[in-house]
Symmetry: C2
Subunit: 326 residues, 2 copies
Amino acid sequence: MTIRIGILGYGNLGRGVEAAVRQNPDMELKAVFTRRDPQALRIADAGAKVLHVDAAEGMKDEIDVLVLCGGSATDLPEQTPKYAALFNVIDSFDTHARIPEHFASVDAAAKKAGKVGVISCGWDPGMFSLNRLYASCILPEGQDYTFWGRGVSQGHSDAVRRIAGVKDARQYTVPVPAALEAVRAGRNPALTTREKHTREVYVVTEEGADRARIEREIKEMPNYFSDYDTTVHFIDADTLAREHAGLPHGGFVIRSGETGAGNRHIIEYRLQLDSNPEFTGAVLTAYARAAYRMAQEGMSGAKTVFDIAPAYLSARTGEELRARML
Amino acid sequence: MTIRIGILGYGNLGRGVEAAVRQNPDMELKAVFTRRDPQALRIADAGAKVLHVDAAEGMKDEIDVLVLCGGSATDLPEQTPKYAALFNVIDSFDTHARIPEHFASVDAAAKKAGKVGVISCGWDPGMFSLNRLYASCILPEGQDYTFWGRGVSQGHSDAVRRIAGVKDARQYTVPVPAALEAVRAGRNPALTTREKHTREVYVVTEEGADRARIEREIKEMPNYFSDYDTTVHFIDADTLAREHAGLPHGGFVIRSGETGAGNRHIIEYRLQLDSNPEFTGAVLTAYARAAYRMAQEGMSGAKTVFDIAPAYLSARTGEELRARML
């Protein structure tokens, strides 16, 4: 039985999900829904329909899981509960402070409809959260560290682009090697924001822009840069296009804890990703399978990665998993 | 409500579980069961009983989860199904080839009794298996690598101790740094056994033993050493006691996979453990909580780490986990 997937929103993440579905033989992409003109949208999968978002409801019997690829600020708080009334859904909602209310609204809609709604999936929130949970349950007396990067932060890149005189920009978040080493060595350092990460910014300016002012405005920008050691590089548009076109990311979740009479243990989970949206799309796709399988078993309501037994992510049976992977 | 724990078998692993229970305020150690004379056994926890194993059945209403700390060769195949008929149980059964039959016998006994029996828990099988599963579901097109060490292999240490003229020995399994780097760099190397790990042996010999013969016997021992580059160090008993008393271990589970048009992603899980039995005991203790909570919800039968939603490992509620850890 093939799991029929729909994608709502065809930006970087939507394309990442499409690519991941192609790698899973038990899945098929049925349709991509867009708010743009469907005629104008070219997708990679020739077998899937491209439809306006208003046509989604009419497809509810042809799609097993709808993957919501919109943004957390305004799209998902509205879309996820709305579509959980019609489909099993999954999203990558990442506004940490609003997760409790998002969970509640998706849970109500999904339970009423007898559907499963997986929220806040991806790698952070997602795989990083899972690793924080497992590690803290195993080592209750310990300390957690999360480092991000080296990778592109879209939010920080956007913030730099809003500065007058900036034509384009790319911002990399970089973990400080000495901090990482101190954590790995079990020294449990108390680290300030500045000690954990540095920021590197590559900026293309308008003709005649005041670079000294731009650099100052970046470095002094509150929340985004003022608490970090930031390096600003001015480059031309060609160099930006050639050397900074990708969206790599990654990071480290480390727990350092003790047991018994002072025995130290370090649990480290590390991601090195060439493409943040493709990896996030791959995580969403694996959890889309889980949503489908849980719904098949009669479960319903909102779920997070914490609530989903790992076996549900796999197309293999329990017997196969125990024989091959345990 | 306190989770009442029993421990069957008070070797290194049993002591590791005892130490872990002390770190979890929602748990209490009720009894340690031993095949030895209970009068002769001193345990660390003054509040717990020390009883002969024959007294276990009589304690079935006073213990919520019995943690089985015996060996995989002969103890667990008999003990886990036997005690799953009386208690929620958990074991660290690690004979990979026999997992299917062990699962089946524990499943039958536990289902009949309405109990949960978690098998093959710890770090390998256990946390390493989990990470292989998650990573392979996220990156279906990729390659898995597991490296063990640097750490003490008890099986290899015992094999050396059986050689004539050897008084004591300690064997370390060591991952080859170049192999690890090639994997981390995404080069997906095909690695032979010899290319992945080296072995280091520290040997204390009897007076007048033929060291050249002992070294040769170690290096040529089939299965254990002949496929590896092995270094043998002869040391005295004091040095062994001083520098090699611990049981450190650890290792790496790495998946290197591609998505889309050749974007590479590396997922790495790493453990660095000062004490293998204490860490294994800590994993078993977290999963003992899961066994208890799943049984409270009416589940029964054999489970592995694949079947257990991560939230069950935690004493926190779903709301707390979403607010703090997601």
